[in-house]
Symmetry: C2
Subunit: 674 residues, 2 copies
């Protein structure tokens, strides 16, 4: 489990951004925003005759992508567009691909494309099929419902990504995420042009891929939930059709607790080993001193290398605490004989051996920060959970890197926080151009301590779309208001793609309400935000068998109503009526929601939250009274409100009240009346 230091991300906000961007030109719902965009006259009306012609090179990926686009277009518009893909240059949508695609999409795939829409036709040109796939993703977001109906507005777009590695990692080891959910997340990734799915398949808490060579890995190393090889093949093909590489991770030599119940001979400690379900990082580590281990890994990597075609294979390599190595006299003896001074040296030895195995089976290595070592070849990639400094360090030594610090979805940051994290900022900002070219991009990461198949979509989306824009769009695309506006469009789009990021929360709240009217619970929940998993485990004992069915689990990471309320409160002078109706709803919801909360064993913990929300909203209404009447409040009112807000800012039931900052603005404004 890779956790960045808990430095609030706003420390990294380049303050000047707001000054140089501001409300930008019309960008519609495009996310990520293209490198260059020029609106033109005319609109192409969409009707049932919409068809596709492939005029350049044709390959199966292109035809699959065209069919997918037609299906999505039909779903998004409600217009029954037939699945018509020909080579007609007069088709409504013409795809013109100059070159052949790679057998297996690589890091160097050319994703650039040009899209031109006129009132007669849309043309997408690219040098490679994956560029066409990206252009089609743009086209899907260009579709708008204007005054005459569904149409594509006239436009010329020339687009290419800023970074070649734009990933999403999902930890499927700690909590099980079924194949169908992976597929719909691949759809969502493609919609926002993410191009690497990093599949964290193994860890202490579960070995999630079928191994036919060593079947006890998944049989004894999981709770019965794992991907069959058939499912893996389907997912790999599914991703390929969407221009997404799949990089599997087999985390070694630590995070290997799930390997040992089936194969104790790999372990550094004596067995027996049983799967356990605690959250803490385990000491379990592979024994790097035994030749048998490398014979095992050779056969295992051979099997996995055949299953996963990508050039890169992620070996993890993080958080080796060395305890089991220190406790094993044979390992200590080995280290002494080989002149290794600490467990880092031993890990370097292990990585060297592992690298040889990877190379033998045609794979390049990617690993977390800790793998970086001058003896490794320059085609390895370092994934940084520590921050820009380790990326800068790697680049200085000629190594490639990707950033994940700042992009941890499970830290429950707002989209705006991750949005301003740039792989080329802080320590990497001052690198030479040559060195900067080693920074390949970044990855949004979802660790699943507090996320499972119920709420995984909402833990990722729409926030990952903001990160996708950071990694695709030019660095100066940085208007937060525009980002949030376009995120709404992405939200709608992803629903049509089958994502449950909006509905899962409602379903989980309805479950809590059982047969009662859930509406008051919706009203309460819309002003709440969950603590991140680190803070949650400080106040509640979690294992991987802890149910995720409480209010906090149902609550999406970021409250849109609270953000909108905060924006209105900042301009209360022109929004008083609107603010009042929102505040009254939240204040008066107390009496409606309380019977539900009190009667439920799972909701009782939210009783104080409902009280606080009501009191905070009431304070906001009183503040508006003072502001509108221009009557200064009594000093003790101000003190009371500030004490109340301070108290309300504390977490309860692992939740925060997200309207506290907005109401604080109103109280501060009222306090300034004189």
């Amino acid at each position: 489990m890779k956790k960045p230091l808990r430095i609030p991300t706003y420390w990294f906000v380049p303050i000047f951004l707001a000054l140089v961007t501001g409300a930008s030109a019309r960008v519609g719902h495009l996310m990520p925003q293209p490198a260059s965009l020029e609106w033109s006259e005319g609109r192409l009306a969409i009707d049932a005759s919409f068809d596709v012609g492939i005029t350049g090179r044709s390959d199966p990926t292109l035809r699959a992508a065209a069919s997918l686009a037609l299906r999505e277009l039909s779903l998004r518009t409600g217009i029954p567009i037939v699945n018509s893909v020909s080579s007609d240059p007069g088709a409504t949508l013409v795809l013109q691909c100059a070159g052949q695609g790679e057998q297996v999409q690589s890091l160097h795939a050319d994703e650039s494309y040009e899209l031109q829409a006129t009132s007669k036709q849309v043309r997408i040109k690219a040098d490679a099929p994956v560029g066409i796939v990206r252009g089609l993703a743009t086209l899907m977001q260009l579709v708008e419902f204007d005054t005459e109906g569904f149409a594509v507005p006239g436009v010329i777009i020339r687009d290419r990504p800023r970074f070649p590695w734009r990933g999403l990692m999902i930890d499927v080891s700690r909590r099980w995420i079924p194949a169908g959910i992976i597929k719909r997340n691949l759809d969502a990734m493609a919609a926002v042009k993410l191009n690497v799915f990093h599949w964290h398949l193994t860890d202490d808490q579960g070995f999630r891929v079928e191994s036919r060579v060593f079947p006890r890995l998944h049989e004894m190393g999981s709770d019965g939930n794992y991907y069959t090889q058939q499912e893996v093949r389907e997912i790999v093909a599914y991703a390929r059709d969407r221009g997404i590489r799949i990089v599997p991770e087999f985390d070694m030599p630590a995070h290997t607790g799930s390997w040992f119940p089936g194969y104790p001979q790999l372990a550094s400690a004596p067995g027996p080993f049983l799967m356990d379900r605690e959250l803490e990082i385990r000491d379990a580590a592979i024994d790097p001193t035994r030749e048998e281990v490398y014979e095992f890994l050779d056969r295992f990597i051979r099997e996995m290398a055949a299953l996963f075609p990508d050039e890169y294979l992620h070996i993890g390599g993080d958080e080796v605490n060395g305890k089991q190595w220190a406790a094993n006299p044979k390992i200590q003896e080995f280290m002494r004989v080989h002149g290794m001074k600490d467990h880092h040296d031993l890990q370097v030895y292990f990585n060297q051996r592992l690298l040889g195995i990877l190379q033998k089976h045609g794979k390049k290595m990617i690993g977390w920060d800790e793998v970086l070592h001058p003896q490794l070849p320059k085609d390895i990639i370092v994934q940084s959970w520590r921050g820009q400094s380790s990326l800068a360090d790697a680049a200085t030594h000629g190594y490639m890197g990707i950033l994940s610090s700042g992009y941890y979805l499970d830290l429950m940051e707002h989209a705006s926080a991750s949005y301003v994290v740039d792989p080329l900022s802080a320590e990497t900002a001052n690198l030479s151009k040559e060195q900067q070219s080693k920074i390949l991009g970044g990855e949004a990461c979802l660790w699943t301590e507090n996320v499972d198949m119920q709420n995984v979509d909402s833990a990722i989306w729409p926030r990952a779309a903001a990160m996708a824009e950071r990694l695709w769009s030019p660095a100066d695309v940085a208007d937060v208001d525009s980002m949030y506006h376009r995120l709404k469009g992405v939200n709608r789009q992803l629903q049509w793609l089958g994502l449950k990021h909006w509905t899962s929360s409602r379903m989980m709240l309805e479950r809590l309400a059982e047969d009662a009217d859930p509406a008051p619970l919706f009203v309460l929940d819309q002003v709440l935000e969950p603590l991140n998993c680190d803070l949650r485990r400080q106040v509640h004992h979690y294992t991987f068998l802890t149910p995720l069915n409480r209010l906090v689990d149902a609550t999406p990471p970021e409250s849109d109503p609270a953000r909108e309320f905060g924006a209105l409160a900042a301009k209360w002078q022109t929004n008083a009526t609107d603010l009042r109706s929102r505040l009254a709803l939240w204040r008066d919801n107390r009496t409606r929601v309380m019977p539900l909360l009190r009667s439920s064993v799972l909701l009782q913990e939210a009783v104080p939250l409902a009280e606080e929300v009501s009191a905070v909203a009431n304070g906001g209404l009183e503040a508006l009274d003072y502001l509108e009447s221009k009557r200064p409040p009594a000093p003790d009112w101000i003190d009371r409100q500030r004490a109340l807000l301070k108290d309300a800012a504390k977490p309860r039931a692992e939740l925060l009240i997200a309207i506290v900052p907005g109401v604080t603005k109103l109280v501060d404004a009222a306090a300034a009346v004189h």
Copy 2:
């Protein structure tokens, strides 16, 4: 297209039912209600240690069903239940199956089971695996969230279906329904114990299954959207794991317009043939006089018989209008030579030949009413779209039958209307026991003139669950209030299974609102109901290329808020405050929704609807004023309101205002004040 006569279904309501049932004993969320149920003490708390032991015979279906149940249990409760299926008799859930399953599930499969839940264990016993599958479906609905958490209450259930054929038909020819949507509908079917998926694969508007023997069938007979044989095999296996038979329909000799573009030699009229997309029933019919046709059908049926393992194959056989046969001199000559007096005789000849082909390939025949003919063997089944009288007729002659009249989902009847339609009522009520045993059950049917992949789930669910109960539960399970109460539970359950019956409407309304706040549109839409497809096409020209993206397409078949409002209005004396707040919401929504309606090319048609809803709601509020003040209204107020209600009852934009009956109750009550 099989359309029953448009007799309002309430004609068939057995009035006495309401008298003998009334508010029944606690049945929780069980739907269909079991044949016998006895609550007992105790509760089995559900936690992460929940596991399954299979103690009797084990087979792959059982293990698959157990894993599916654990997955659903985990999703429904938010408790991370591991996928643990063993043979442990001490497991939390023990499945004890006495006999082996059929190789291919038949009409005679034994679906009976016993379920006993105590505070320690749940035991499901059955003679056949499919009985266990049904018991598991019951268990899923027994799970409740009580004052202590998620649990299964103590209970003894002995259950068996009333009818062996409980089907759902989906027409995938007219509008394309992708494989994933079929699968989730199979999940929903299994949840309510439906056991036959009747797949209407071919019709004039599309040939939707891949034929490798005659590939021009799907290539030229579809818009590019069809199921590959691989998809068919997956769906057949998926259904088998859920105890569902799949009966494919290849509608012949009429409804074959999609066969002829690829194979004009089958047709009764000279070509050339092109796919067309008009709604009307076509004249296209196979030429039954040519031997070449039977050679073709022999090879085609051989291929399909291998693909679809069920013992029955549906040959359609409906709506042969005989026009092309009458216009073809060679066919006329054939009829004369063979002494056939009309096209019915020719269809009988065709059916006889087709029957021989079916039998050669090991299949029994099922067809719509029209196929019934004394020369056919007694193992054929007649599916009645005409009503109980044709079933009675068939049974009298020793033929088996299933009822679909009254179960047409596209007629947009309320769940309560279909709920009271009993296969053993009206003409079939007076048959002998022996004859009644020929009535095998029924099928809910969805024809897709006005339904496509966007809204297919809401066109089927939850209404089909009420029909499922009619076909499974004892005839005296007929309490409509109880049915609606339990339907709510089914609604929630189906969401966890991935159905979009609740969310699709919201998504379609959000699409209409584009970037505007969709809330006023939700408020308007909740009191509306769509016309059925027959009435819709009277006021609007439809083809199969007509977009389904208007307000009427987004509106679910039955308005729950309107039904609840009607129930409250019937007892206005105790509900005045509640009624007022609802009516005020609907009245005042006019000003909020109007800008949205006026600005949208697709919503403009709803402007008069919004006016009417507001006026109707206002009338309801005024009626309450009179009622609560006990002040008689002036006669002209009464006249005005009645005229208004009469006008408001007319369809607008193919929608009806569903609160008109409720407000009428209030106005009538006010008119009676004196």
